[in-house]
Amino acid sequence: MDYLYLIISAILVNNIVLMQFLGICPFLGVSNKTSTAIGMSGAVLFVMVLATIMTFLVQKYVLDAFEIGYLQTISYILIIAALVQMVEIILKKVSPPLYQALGIYLPLITTNCAILGVAILVIQKDFDLMKSVVFAVGTSLGFAFALVLFAGIREQMELVKIPKGMKGVPIALIVAGILALAFQGFTGLVKI
């Protein structure tokens, strides 16, 4: 039951993009089409879960064990960068169709702050490994939910007449604001 609450909270109540402002760059960058939004979401789900497991293990068995916690930021970002490269190489060999679907989004993920953000949050919240994985899955589903929703709206917006100065990013931000307003309605849905 705990895990279910954790997932619902990560998707709706504390949505990573609209409530916690992590991963805004891909949120604004690849949300022009629903199909690219789905591809990006898949890549984020994959890398976020892997990265959270890796960084969690490194934190527990290397950083905590040798009391070098101050190296957290450096080691995490290196792990994530290396992981993304590795995933790219392995996918290319093992599953070419999956690579074709996710390939172009993978390099973008290294600078996606949602990945590093979740890795650090999990440690700050003192989750165990199982909880961390569930949290990572929930968070990336929340990211996917917001991204696909937003892409759908943006596709429709192509057909609308928009004032000159508002075109492009400004109107996208305001739409995101209204979307965030809607998500604000979920506050208090589950308590953790």
Partner: protein, 195 residues
């Protein structure tokens, strides 16, 4: 390009927040008040010019293929320095900025300037560029923070301006997106007029 021009480049013409739209995550997240915006802006400025200096110094020693990981390690070291020093000296600010201080590492402005400027120019120019970009980022953050604090709590930098209840929504998440969107539209309009 003259040194002065490089310095002022980041203020309006290539403002990282309003024109280049880089580093949106901290921009939206920490600007609940003008003070938080200022703190975040100064922390990022420090990382920007320090990493620009070091990268322009060691650029010839780094092989082209591994330059991105090398840059990231340099940036991450300075982020760790600012993270630990802020925790020690300005603990309250450190608490309210929270997770977004370590996340300066993945702020696209820092890596973007390293890749686009510091890896091609000498130390002095890189320093000036980092400082200018940082100041542009700080100005934008303080602007956004002031607007949100004013609308949300009728105050700027903690000083009450009108005696009334604020609109709470502007301090919460939706207000961040909406204020940022309108400010960016305003900047677009103004910069078009200047041309």
């Amino acid at each position: 390009m003259g040194n002065f021009k490089i310095f002022t480049n980041g203020f309006v013409k290539e403002n990282p927040v309003f024109v280049l739209v880089l580093g949106t995550c901290p921009t939206l997240a920490v600007t609940t008040s003008a003070m938080n915006g200022l703190g975040m802006g100064l922390a990022t400025t420090f990382v920007l010019f320090m990493s620009n200096i070091v990268i322009s110094m060691v650029k010839s020693a780094i092989p082209d293929k591994v330059r991105i990981p090398a840059f990231v390690v340099i940036i991450a070291s300075f982020v760790t320095i600012i993270d630990l020093s802020m925790n020690a000296y300005v603990n309250d600010l450190h608490k309210s900025l929270g997770i977004f201080i370590p996340l300066i590492v993945v702020n696209c402005i820092v890596l973007g300037r390293a890749e686009a400027f510091a890896s091609k120019n000498n130390v002095l120019k890189s320093f000036i560029d980092g400082l200018g970009m940082g100041i542009g980022f700080t100005i934008a953050l303080v602007m956004l923070g002031s607007v949100r604090e004013f609308l949300g709590g009728n105050a700027i930098f903690g000083h009450k301006i009108i005696e009334a209840d604020g609109m709470l929504v502007f301090v919460l998440a939706p207000g961040a997106f909406i204020c940022y969107g309108f400010l960016m539209a305003l900047m677009n309009k103004l910069s078009k007029k200047l041309k």
